[in-house]
Symmetry: C2
Subunit: 354 residues, 2 copies
């Protein structure tokens, strides 16, 4: 059996016994009933995921997956493709947005080359990035498929590998992405899986003007017309639309779920990876925490499809895992609510009148 | 001149020079323009408040002000008044919600007795709480004023005192409250200052049922009918409606603003304190960060009146400063964005096509 097949067999729903035990304790905390709202819902989820009343969350990593996209030939991004490897160097040097926000949250940044269209061997040799390169960027999806089905499988299994390699030292995963042009495949994936109209889902990415936005919508129409992916087949969608980093994110989520570890899903691109993962195996939903609501208009539909209310809504649209890093503070806070607050009885506080 | 008068003379608007310098740097960061959204807006505010391109935010304290309310005699709360001192002991013992969330955020919890209807001298003697007791709970505001104008002044100046006492060791203040019954005066304050209808502003506090909610609205009508505070006079509103902890919060905010330090305003009760402070001196607005949107329905109108979009919206309604503690992570993150992310030039990353 393939690594993917074996990993999927390890994915179970959240443990209802631990969910019940967590709820029972939270119901008794010395505060008005459920007065910490979403943090308490999250605490129940974390107990159910980790099968623990002390969910381990101290060791955190944001895994930033990088890949390039042949569709940039269609003029769908404001930035040149060389920015993808340049940003990988920026991550390694600690100067990017994800570095700043991961430091604040006490999370490690793990950078993975899933398919950057540049030679990053120097960084691999120095142990600064993980090499899972599937190719030098995807093919132009406005003209045909992004990659072969074998490559799609390899991208997802590479993400699973990364989750397994980090398993011994990481409690909570965050997803992140870097890839010039990657809002275009992500929007196409959203259109396929949510069934919503392209015009409603498409956004300005890194800063397109009105005319460029209309052009991007036309390109996405072409992508779907020439590829016709099967909306029920995650690997088919990935092979036809891409990209390598989106497949890696899907695999990381699957790998986290198989280890019963929470995975904080970042923004628009990460949600495309999550939708691919959910199409492959719906039970991964039980391990996903949606970090934030991106400014990309299609993100709402994606999160609705996942059935997930995001924790933060701060008008962000950077990717890299920045929203996931911020949300890790809230994951820690939810565990603190479950483990550090006294009950009415423990604190000798009088309860509410019945 | 009074301490309040002297302190108000120290309050200046945010520094526009530092705001401009911060914006200039943020505009050049190696990311799509303004892609970290609200964190970047907050970073500008922090630079303007602190007159620094490295706004100091490492040393954080949530100041939880406690006081009792004579209006509990009208049956406006689910919990008995003895819970106020019991929760003060819970804060001191580290078992309350605010302790858990402040620990997560790396913030100290400072507990102040502004007017609890119980003897807390043992905690004062042990140095566990700050004693600023103005009285043993306010008078019943459904029958007359909460306190004298002299006591209102003393409550506000006590809050200023606390801000000054903490000044040497604290960079960022958070506000918090504890006081059984205090959503009733807070709703009345909201009605006076926002001018919105009582029915729209009144919520279930710690968990009232439908009938109790209607009763609470009737009590708030009585409060306003028998007290008729001047909506333009913050001290008059405080004297007539209360409470001691709300006055303390107003003073803490004024004291923070006078020191050019950010003050993260928690939820519904803290916003009542903030509205009192703003009525006394509108320039304090420049130092206020709204932490979160409470589940109390009146909170939206209060934040609109302050002109402040909250950072978090997590269905919380606990008070104590819990929302402020959570938001302190975002304050730190905003500073990290300003100080730790490289510009395009520093990172040698290509910019967007013009």
């Amino acid at each position: 059996m393939s690594l993917l097949g074996r990993t999927l067999k390890e994915i179970y729903p959240q443990d209802s016994g631990f969910r019940d035990r967590a709820k029972e304790r939270l119901d008794q905390l010395a505060l008005p009933h459920w007065a910490l709202g979403d943090l308490m819902d999250l605490a129940i989820d974390l107990a159910g995921m980790t099968r623990s009343m002390q969910p381990p969350v101290a060791r955190k990593a944001v895994v930033t997956m990088a890949g390039d996209h042949g569709v940039v030939a269609e003029g769908v991004s404001k930035f040149p493709q060389e920015v993808t490897p340049q940003m990988v160097y920026n991550f390694v040097n600690g100067g990017a947005g994800i570095n700043a926000l991961a430091r604040q949250a006490g999370a490690e940044v793990v950078v993975v080359d899933m398919g950057v269209a540049a030679d990053l061997n120097d960084l691999v040799k120095q142990g600064k990035i993980i090499n899972k390169k599937v190719g030098l960027g995807t093919d132009n999806i406005a003209k045909g498929p992004a990659m072969s089905h074998a490559m799609a499988m390899r991208a997802v299994e590479s993400g699973i590998d990364v989750a397994m390699e980090l398993a011994d030292r990481i409690d909570v995963f965050g997803t992140g992405d870097m890839g010039i042009g990657n809002t275009t495949p992500s929007t196409a994936i959203a259109a396929v899986i949510t069934g919503k109209p392209i015009a409603e889902l498409t956004g300005r990415g890194t800063g397109l003007d009105d005319e460029q936005l209309v052009h991007k919508q036309e390109v996405i129409k072409e992508i779907l017309a020439c590829n016709t992916p099967d909306p029920k087949n995650g690997l088919d969608i990935l092979a036809k639309i891409g990209g390598f980093e989106i497949g890696g994110i899907a695999g990381l989520i699957i790998g986290a779920a198989a280890q019963r570890k929470p995975v904080v899903v970042d923004g628009f691109i990460s949600s495309a990876g999550a939708l691919i993962a959910l199409t492959i195996e719906p039970f991964v939903r039980d391990y996903i925490i949606c970090a934030h609501r991106s400014m990309e208009p299609g993100h709402k539909a994606m999160q609705e499809k996942m059935g997930c209310r995001p924790l933060l809504d701060l008008n962000m649209r950077l990717g890299e895992g920045t929203g996931a890093a911020l949300a890790m503070n809230l994951v820690e806070a939810a565990v603190a609510v479950l483990t550090e607050i006294s009950t009415f009885e423990e604190a000798a506080v009088a309860g509410a009148d019945k």
